[in-house]
């Protein structure tokens, strides 16, 4: 079962690699950041549910961003407050427990600094389907034993998370970012209550210029300070 899912995952990964286009790098810096627009991006990350490995594919699409210009006496500082919707499909496998496929939609709030560093918080909702890691059997009232196929459970899911990343577009003019994200998935109802799962995700974000182009609403804000 596990091998079958891993094969499918590999297949998806191969398929996705053919539709990945890199964005033409946007020349951007504190001096000329007018051209910077957050874009739709594909995220691929390795996930660890405590000790247990997995991965996550996500597509994030900006819907709004605010360019905040802070004018000080000697310098101008610019940050971007970006809002994204992120659609993510993830999997982790806990040996002798379950393999969990989860699909979630997240709302991201990202604070992109002109240095390239960004910080993000997110909250999401979704659905999870677990498959127990091992064969499962049912025993009928008459004592007959049957092997259960695809034994596991559906759960509703909510998540909260935070991440830090570096956007190579702003300083190095490369269309990708690297990030590290910590997330708590909460699966419910789990034996009447809920099951929290902490995840650590590390991965790569590639900007997509020709796929599902985003036209985020831009807002500007200028903060002047005499200090």
């Amino acid at each position: 079962m596990k091998q079958f899912f891993l094969s499918c995952l590999l297949l998806i990964l191969t398929g996705l690699s053919f539709s990945l286009y890199s964005q033409t790098p946007v020349r951007d810096s504190v001096a000329s950041t007018d051209a910077y627009v957050p874009t739709t991006a594909l995220k691929i990350g390795f996930v660890g549910a405590l000790l247990y490995p997995g991965c996550q594919f996500a597509l994030e699409r900006p819907y709004q961003y605010t360019e905040v210009t802070k004018q000080r006496q000697q310098k101008v500082k610019r940050i971007y407050k970006e809002r994204y919707i992120r659609y993510a499909l993830g999997i982790y496998s806990h040996y002798r427990y379950h393999t969990n496929f989860f699909l979630q939609c997240e709302n991201l709030q990202r604070r992109q600094k002109s240095t390239g560093w960004w910080f993000e918080s997110s909250e999401g909702v979704g659905v999870s389907r677990t498959f127990v890691n091992g064969p499962a059997y049912t025993v009928s009232d008459e004592g007959a034993i049957h092997k259960a196929t695809l034994a596991g459970n559906w759960y509703a899911l909510v998540s909260v998370g935070g991440s830090v990343g570096y956007n190579f577009n702003l300083k190095k003019h490369q269309p990708f970012s690297v990030y590290c994200k910590h997330q708590w998935l909460v699966l419910f109802p789990y034996n009447t209550l809920f099951l929290p799962r902490p995840l650590i995700e590390m991965g790569l974000t590639c900007s997509l210029s020709h796929f599902w182009q985003a036209h985020p609403v831009k807002k500007s804000k200028i903060i002047s300070s005499s200090k």
Binding site: L10, H94, V139, N153
Partner: protein, 338 residues
């Protein structure tokens, strides 16, 4: 497109090469699940299957964990001589799912289904010994007294079990008072014992609140007895891939659902006369949680003509933790004889 076919082919090849989930000879380390309604209960069978003797552990709790019993002693001593079956009950350990039945009769059915599954997969000729500890010591006789369930089992091992909840609470209270007074008189940990004795003198044992308080004191009291020892090289079940958060949540779910509530209205004492199979009673001398008096009740009512009782002088509620070498030697020797 061609690469997709190659990947699918490789995937199918790997899937086709999987070994059977059930080891038929040698040392087993099998993992499978019993699916019961919307709940999947994990079962680990580890040890020597050639002996055809299977020791099924019915863990404590409710909300305990079968793999907690798989420490270095169980692995080195018991798993060499027999196959040990570690099972997580519903709402316990790594059991997973939604909204399974909570009635104690569902636990009883789970035990029966596990035994049927073991016999179907490892052979109808295997000999199964059912070992209940604490709350598992309620479930085990509760299962055995029903219908012809005894025919599925070769022997019953009761380890500090709670077959009669009401009697259990009463005995705990009495033991806390009598031992507490002795310890105070001897000048040992008087400041710890005095409030416990005072509380027990002022309160009865009836009701959930009193039972909860008595249970809390009982666990503490065991730690205050100098004769109760734990070997320094005793190791826990680390490395068994227990899902810690699942275990934690299930423990809380068990409490929230008060799974053992019906045990108060289902005392097994008056049905023990139905039990005729070989019986081994193992008790810690200083078990305040399920006091020694419970074993006396079983001796008094059980109809088995083959009943052995062993008391562990340096143990509390869990002799497999306090005196693991002696404990496993006794269990294995008894299984060998029966």
């Amino acid at each position: 497109m061609r690469i997709s076919y190659v990947i699918i082919l490789i995937g199918l090849l790997i899937a086709g090469c999987q070994k059977s989930s059930f080891t038929k000879n040698g040392q087993a380390n099998d993992q499978f699940f019993l699916k019961s309604g919307n709940i999947e209960l994990p079962i680990t069978v580890a040890g020597n299957v050639d002996a055809k003797k299977f020791l099924v552990i019915v863990h404590g709790g409710p909300g305990g964990n079968g793999l907690d019993y798989r420490d270095s002693y169980a692995m080195a001593l018991a798993e060499n001589k027999c196959a040990v079956v570690y099972w997580d009950q519903r709402f316990a350990g790594n059991s997973q799912g939604n909204n399974g039945a909570t009635d104690i009769s569902a636990f009883r059915q789970d035990i029966k289904n596990i035994l049927l599954l073991l016999k179907a997969q490892y052979g109808q000729d295997i000999q199964i010994y059912l070992m209940g500890h604490s709350w598992g010591g309620f479930l085990t006789p509760y299962f055995l007294v029903e219908g012809n369930n005894q025919s599925l089992v070769k022997g019953w091992i009761q380890v500090d079990g709670a077959h009669n909840y009401r009697m259990n609470d009463s005995l705990t209270r009495e033991m806390l008072i009598s031992t507490g007074k002795q310890e105070i008189a001897a000048g040992r940990r008087s400041s710890d014992w005095q409030p416990v004795v005072d509380w027990c003198m002022a309160n009865g044992f009836e009701g959930n609140d009193n039972a909860g308080q008595l249970n809390g004191y009982a666990h503490k009291a065991e730690e205050w007895i100098p004769a109760v020892t734990t070997p320094s090289n005793s190791t826990s079940s680390g490395g068994n891939n227990a899902a810690l958060l699942s275990h934690w949540i299930n423990e809380r779910a068990s409490g929230y659902l008060q799974l053992d509530g019906p045990a108060y209205t289902t005392p097994i004492s008056d049905q023990l006369h139905l039990l005729k199979l070989p019986t081994l009673l193992l008790w810690g001398q200083y078990d305040f949680v399920c006091p020694l008096g419970l074993s006396t009740d079983i001796e008094k009512h059980c109809a088995s003509t083959n009943l052995t009782k062993i008391i562990y002088e340096h143990s509390g509620h869990s002799p497999m933790v306090n005196e693991p070498v002696k404990f496993w030697e006794d269990v294995l020797a008894w299984m060998e004889r029966n």
